[in-house]
Amino acid sequence: MAYSDSHDAPKSFFYRYIWSQDHKVIAIQYSLTAIFMGLVGMLMSWFMRLQLGFPDEFDFVTPSAYYQFMTMHGMIMVIYLLTALFLGGFGNYLIPLMVGARDMVFPYLNMLSFWFYFLSVLVLMASFFVPGGPTGAGWTLYPPQAILPGTPGSDWGIITMLTSLVIFIVAATMGGLNYVTTVLQARTKGMTLMRMPLSVWGIFMASIMALLAFPALFVSGLMMLLDKTLGTSFFMPAIVSMGQQLDFEGGSPMLFQHLFWFFGHPEVYIVALPAFGIVSDLISVHARKNIFGYKMMVWSIVAIGAMSFVVWAHHMYVSGMNPYFGFFFATTTLIIAVPTAIKVYNWLLTLWRGDIHLTVPMLFAVGFISTFVIGGLTGLFLGNVIVDIPLSDTYFVVAHFHMVMGIAPIMVVFGGIYHWFPKISGRMYNEALGQMHFWITFVGTYLIYFPMHYIGFLGVPRRYYAYDNYDFIPPSVDDLNSFITVVAIVVGVSQLLLIYNLARSTFKGEKADANPWQATSLEWQTPTTPPGHGNWGPEQPKVYRWAYDFSVPGAKHDFIPQNIPNEDVPLAQEGQPLKGIDT
C-alpha cells in the first residue's frame, strides 16, 4: 500500500540535522552524544586507575576526587552510554528500517526524547562545576551517606545527579513509547512479529522493560531528592553524623535499595538484551547461516526480560534484609541462567556448519561470545547466595559486571557500528584499523578483567581509595593493579582507532554497495544508501519470509532478502524448488 509522508522532507540544515524528526538523524544524535559520554566515563576510569595502579603519585586524585570519579564513571557508563546508545541509538536507527516502517510512529515525541536526553547530559556535566563537585556516593547512590557530609558532592552534586536522572527517565519514557508502539503498530505488510530480526526483538523487549523499571528509579530518586532538599525521612533513620544529631527519623535505607535494584537489575538486562539480539544478527549474516532455534531465541529474550523483574535482591544478599529472601532470590537468579545458556548454545550452533567470514563485525561477535560466557558464568557464583557472601563488595563483583555489562555489550556495540556503518554512511570503514581495534580491545580487556576475579577471591574490597598495609593483601596485588592500569590506558587509547576510522571513512572511505554483507533484513533493501527521507521511496516493502534465509538449499545465492517473494528467488538449477522452511 502506498504511503505518502505526513510531512514533507525538511529543507534547511537546521530542520534536517538539528531539530529533526527523522529517526535516523535522531539515532545519530543519540549515538554521538552517548559515545562522547563514553569517552568522559573512560577518562573517569583512567583517573581511578592512576590512583589504584600508582598510589599517591598523582596529587589530583584525592580520596574525595577518587570517589567522585568512581561515581561518575559508573553512572555515565550504565545510563548515559549503554542505555542511551542501545535504545536511543541502535533502537532508533534499526527499528523502523528493520520492520519496514517509514519512521517511528511519534516522530515529534522521538525528537523531544533526544533533546531531553541531551538536557539530562548537560545537567549531569554541570555537576562537575557546582560547589562541592559531583556526587561521590557510588553509582548506586545509597542513602544515608549519599546526602550526608561524609560523602563528596553531597550538596549540589547529588541534587544535580538526581535531577539529571529524572530528566533522563522522562526521555527514556518518551523513547520507549515510540519503540514499543512502532514495533506493535507500524510493521509493514507481511512482517509478523515472528519474522522480525532478533535485533528488533532484543531492543523491543528492552524498551518494555525500561518503561516498567525506570519508574522505580524515579520513585527512589525523587524521594531521595526530597530527603535532601525538604528534610523528609523516606530513607533517613535517626543519625549521628560527625558528632551532630540530625533531624531525620524513622526512614529506611533498605527501602531505597529495594526500589533501586527493582530498577537496577532489569536495567542490566535492558543493556544486555539488545546486545543479544544484535549479536544474533551479526553472527547470522557473517556466517551466512540462519540463526539456530529462532523461536527459542525469541522466547528466551521474553523469558529473560520477564524474569529479570524477580531477581533484584541478589544485589542485597548482605544488605541486612530478611535472610529468608535469600533462598527465593538465589533460586530465581539461577533459573534465569537457563534461557541465557540456551542463547549461548544457539549462537554456537548457528556458527556450527556455517560459512564463517572473519570480518570485523564477526570478530567482535566472537569476542562477545567469549567474554559474555565468562561474565555470565561468574554471575553464577554471585547468584548463589552463600557463595556471594564472601565475594560481595570485592573485586570479584567488579570483574563480573565489567565483563558482562561492559566488555561483552561493548563488543556488540563495536560490531554493530562496523556492520551498519556502510548503510548509515554509504561508505566502507578501513579494514586494517578495524582489525587492530578489535585485537587490542579483546586481548586488553581480557588481561584487565580476568586476573581481577582472583583478587576478589582473595577478598580485596571494592570502592577503596588505597590498600595500605593490609596483612592479607600481598604486594603482588599492587603489581597487578599497576599492570591493569597500564593495559587499561592502552586499551582506552586504542578506542581512538575507532573514532578516527569512523570519522575518516565517513568522508574519505570507499563507497559501499547498498548491501555489502549480502544480508537479508529490510534495512539493507532500501532504494538509496544512506536511506533517504521516508526510507523506502514511494512504496513500503512487503515481507514474504523471516530474516534468516541464508544458504537456503536450491537458491542460487546464499541469501534471500525478506522482501523477495518465492517466485522471484533465483534458483540454483531451473526446476529445482527451494527447500527452505515455511515461515
Binding site: 500500500m1 502506498a2 508502539t181 518503561l211 516498567l212 525523587l222 525538604l230 527519623e249 526500589l259
Partner: protein, 215 residues
C-alpha cells in the same frame, strides 16, 4: 480505481494507522504511569510499618479524618470526567455546540480540581503538617503533586484541542482526540480514587495491607 479515489483511500488508511498508533501509545503510557504509582504505593505501605508513622486520618483532630475538601475535589474531578464523556458522546453524534460546552466544562473542572488540591496543601501547611514533618505528610504531598502533574499534562493536550474548537475545526477531525482525552481523564480519576483511599487510610488499614502482602 481512479486517482482521486486512491488518494482518499490512502488518506483514510494513513489516518486510521495514526489513530491505532496513538491509541496504543496512550495505553502503553497508562501502563507506565500505573507502574509508577504502584511502586509509590509499595513505598507508602512499607514505610507505614515503621514506628514513626502517623496516619493523617485516624483521630478526629487529624486533618484528613474528615476530608471534606478532598471530597469536594473528588467530585470536581468526577464532574470533569463526566463532562468529558458527554463531550465525547456529543462529538460522536456530530453535536458541535454541546460537545464544545462539555469540553470546556471538563477543562474548567479539572483546573478547579488542581486549585482545590493546592488549597488542601495550604490548609495542611497552616495546621503545621508540613512536608518534612512526618512520612505520611511527605507522601501526601508527593503523591498529590505527581497526580496533579499528570493531570496538568493532560490539560496541555486538552488546551490544544480547545484551541481547535475555538477555531471551529470540524468535529470529525476532533472526535478521536476527544475520545483519547476522555480515556486518559477516566484513568486519572480512577487513579485519584485509589490514592484518596490510600492517603486517608488509618494505621490499621495500612497494617492489614502490609500483612496481606507479607511485610
Amino acid at each position: 480505481m481512479s486517482n482521486a479515489q486512491a488518494q482518499i483511500e490512502l488518506a483514510n488508511w494513513q489516518q486510521s494507522f495514526q489513530r491505532r498508533a496513538q491509541r496504543t501509545g496512550l495505553r502503553v503510557f497508562m501502563v507506565v504511569v500505573s507502574a509508577l504509582f504502584f511502586l509509590f504505593t509499595v513505598a507508602v505501605i512499607t514505610r507505614s510499618q515503621y514506628s514513626d508513622w502517623q496516619s493523617l486520618a485516624e483521630q478526629p483532630w487529624q486533618p484528613l479524618f474528615d476530608p471534606w475538601q478532598l471530597w469536594l475535589n473528588t467530585s470536581t474531578l468526577i464532574g470533569s470526567s463526566l463532562a468529558l464523556q458527554w463531550a465525547r458522546q456529543s462529538s460522536a453524534k456530530g453535536q458541535y455546540r454541546s460537545a464544545a460546552i462539555a469540553f470546556w466544562l471538563a477543562g474548567g473542572c479539572a483546573l478547579a480540581f488542581l486549585f482545590g488540591q493546592i488549597w488542601v496543601w495550604f490548609t495542611l501547611a497552616s495546621l503545621g503538617y508540613v512536608v518534612g514533618a512526618n512520612p505520611a505528610n511527605s507522601f501526601f504531598y508527593v503523591l498529590t503533586a505527581l497526580h496533579g502533574l499528570h493531570l496538568l499534562g493532560g490539560l496541555l493536550v486538552w488546551s490544544k484541542i480547545a484551541v481547535k474548537l475555538m477555531h471551529k475545526t470540524p468535529l470529525p477531525q476532533l472526535s478521536f482526540s476527544i475520545e483519547l482525552c476522555s480515556v486518559y481523564w477516566h484513568f486519572l480519576l480512577v487513579l485519584w480514587l485509589l490514592l484518596f483511599m490510600l492517603l486517608t487510610s488509618s494505621g490499621e488499614t495500612f497494617n492489614a495491607i502490609a500483612n496481606f502482602c507479607g511485610f
